[in-house]
């Protein structure tokens, strides 16, 4: 039972992380290839605070705050460069984060931080708490998408220049997307640190950023339900099938390529098209 609880927690953490990237890349159309850096900011802060004896519930908002602040600064770059340039810049931010952490003795350097104190909850309690967080974030995403802000995000993703002509303050909304998305990634990072009780620079590198991106792409860029399902499935697959565990990157890479090449709107798009086709056929009868 312990194993299932641990797996469920991992899945919930993946879902949270994927939803946080989906907010930036899916809702607002700002591609980020360095999202794991914000997971790292949250995780490292939580780990340091936990070692200093700060209680679990107090570290979460602090992790969100710091990751969101760093994210807003990184978001400033999205005002300066667009599309593929932004992709390269955010990728650079990811490499920069890992490069800095590696050389910091007080952050554990290459070895990382081990023996992070737990959350004072039972394993089951922590799992329920993480799942609850995931559900709350899902609800937040659904709410956001329907709000005025969500519609502006969508407009920016579709056509930034038109939104500008319409008199929308595009920079402010872009920064808001980055702030919310990276703060959620910081929250996820804190949960990650408490769950695994070990963090190192390699846990937040480029591979992690690509893994979460493939979750978003497979689920369907912008779709809350699709991304949730994809993140849960993709994080559980390596544990379920030994073969996939051994060749995790081969599977993720191929999936990323095949999905974007043949089904660019992801699982959500597939399901939607299928449903609509049925409905249309039903209507014509």
């Amino acid at each position: 039972m312990n194993y299932e609880i641990s797996l469920m927690t991992t899945m919930a953490i993946s879902v949270l992380f994927a939803l946080s990237l989906n907010l930036i890349t899916g809702f607002c159309g700002q591609i980020s290839l360095g999202h794991a850096a914000f997971l790292g900011v949250g995780a490292y802060l939580a780990a340091m605070l936990a070692k200093a004896g700060v209680p679990f519930l107090a570290t979460l908002p602090l992790a969100m705050l710091l990751a969101g602040a760093v994210g807003t600064v990184v978001g400033l770059t999205s005002l300066r460069v667009r599309a593929d340039f932004l992709a390269i810049t955010t990728m650079g931010v990811g490499f920069l984060f890992v490069g800095i952490v590696r050389q910091r003795e007080w952050l554990g350097g290459e070895l990382g931080i081990a023996g992070i104190t737990g959350s004072n909850m039972s394993k089951l309690g922590f799992m329920l708490f993480t799942v609850l967080c995931a559900i709350l974030v899902m609800a937040l995403c659904v709410y956001l998408r329907r709000s005025w802000m969500g519609r502006v995000f969508n407009g920016i993703a579709e056509d930034e220049d038109t939104m500008r002509v319409l008199g929308i303050n595009v920079p402010r909304y872009k920064l808001a997307a980055f702030a919310i998305g990276t703060a959620l990634a910081g929250l996820t990072g804190a949960l990650y640190a408490y769950h695994f009780q070990y963090i190192g620079p390699d846990s937040f590198g480029f591979v992690e950023s690509i893994t979460v991106l493939s979750m978003v792409v497979v689920g369907g860029i912008g779709s809350v339900v699709g991304v949730t399902v994809a993140a849960a499935l993709l994080s559980a697959l390596p544990a379920w099938f030994q073969f996939i565990g051994d060749y995790k990157l081969l599977v993720y890479g191929s999936l990323l390529f095949l999905m974007i090449r043949f089904v660019p709107d992801g699982m959500a798009g597939l399901v939607r098209r299928h449903l609509f086709k049925r409905r249309a056929e039903g209507g014509s009868k």
Binding site: I210, L250, L256
Partner: protein
């Protein structure tokens, strides 16, 4: 003397970066695709080069085989992966390319093993002493001369032949070029062939310098080459060359003087972010 030695090491590294980045620039100039999977041909070239050289004993044959096979693989990749995505937004092709690259890295691991392979009898390892002060390996000297020569020849071909002019015309206005009877297909295939062959060329040199080929040898150059073409002002051959050499030298000094602060890869990207914030159009772009 440390300064001079660091400078030459930087130039050696820079000329390898230039060879890799050149192919990326050709592809970006033509199709506006950030071709991350380009580094897969760098690794592929290194493997083919080392295997053929070990089997036949001839380094030249190794180079030829590596460039031919990687070139063809590049064209096939373009046809299968990128051609159908040309009318989609640019990040679609970028994501496809990243997926392709990660999968190919793992495929190399599965096919050739994780621990890497080396030359049985590594050629060109003699030590040279230039101007009485600079110590270099033969291979290091040749890679500098070779990459500069290739880039020079390429730019002459681009300006002096019909096909080269056709390529340039396609870059500036594909539709107009097509209506003047230029085959877009031919130009694009040719670009992928030349670019991938250059990456393979660089791959064999790196194999010679380190006497080791690993599945992951392409990962750092692939992302760094992206940084280089952005610094060079996307699509400009001369800018790419300059940016590659500058980055090689900056890294060589940075590793010594900033090593406590940042690691080698982070230096490249810190430099990139800094430049992009000040000049979003790249370091050497005239736009």
């Amino acid at each position: 003397m440390l300064l001079v030695e660091l400078f030459t090491q930087g130039l050696v590294q820079g000329s390898i970066y230039a060879l890799i980045a050149l192919g990326l620039t050709l592809v970006y100039g033509l199709l506006r695709i950030l071709h991350v999977a380009h580094a897969a041909f760098f690794t592929l070239g290194a493997y083919v080069g080392i295997l053929v050289c070990n089997a036949s004993g001839s380094l030249i044959l190794g180079f030829a085989a590596a460039m031919a096979i990687a070139g063809c693989a590049g064209v096939i990749t373009y046809r299968l992966a990128y051609q159908p995505l040309l009318d989609k937004p640019p990040f679609v092709a970028l994501i496809a390319s990243i997926g392709l690259y990660i999968a190919s890295e793992e495929a190399f691991r599965v096919f050739f093993g994780a621990q890497g392979i080396s030359f049985v009898d590594p050629p060109l390892q003699q030590q040279l002493l230039l101007f009485g002060t600079i110590r270099l390996k033969m291979a290091e000297l040749l890679v500098m001369i070779g990459s500069l020569a290739i880039i020079f020849v390429l730019s002459r071909l681009q300006n002096g032949t019909r096909l080269g002019l056709a390529c340039q015309a396609t870059v500036s206005d594909p539709q107009m070029a097509e209506s003047f009877g230029i085959s877009l297909r031919l130009v694009r295939d040719l670009n992928f062939f030349v670019g991938s062959a250059l990456a393979a060329f660089a791959g064999v040199w790196v194999a010679l310098l380190n006497n080791l080929v690993e599945p992951t040898m392409g990962s750092v150059p692939s992302y760094k080459a992206l940084a280089i073409i952005v610094l060079g002002g996307l699509g400009s051959v001369r800018g790419t060359l300059a940016a590659a050499l500058v980055l090689g030298v900056v890294e060589a000094y940075g590793t010594i003087y900033l090593g406590k602060l940042l690691d080698r890869n982070a230096i490249a990207f810190a430099f990139l972010i800094l430049v992009l914030m000040v000049r979003p159009q790249g370091l050497f772009s005239r736009r």
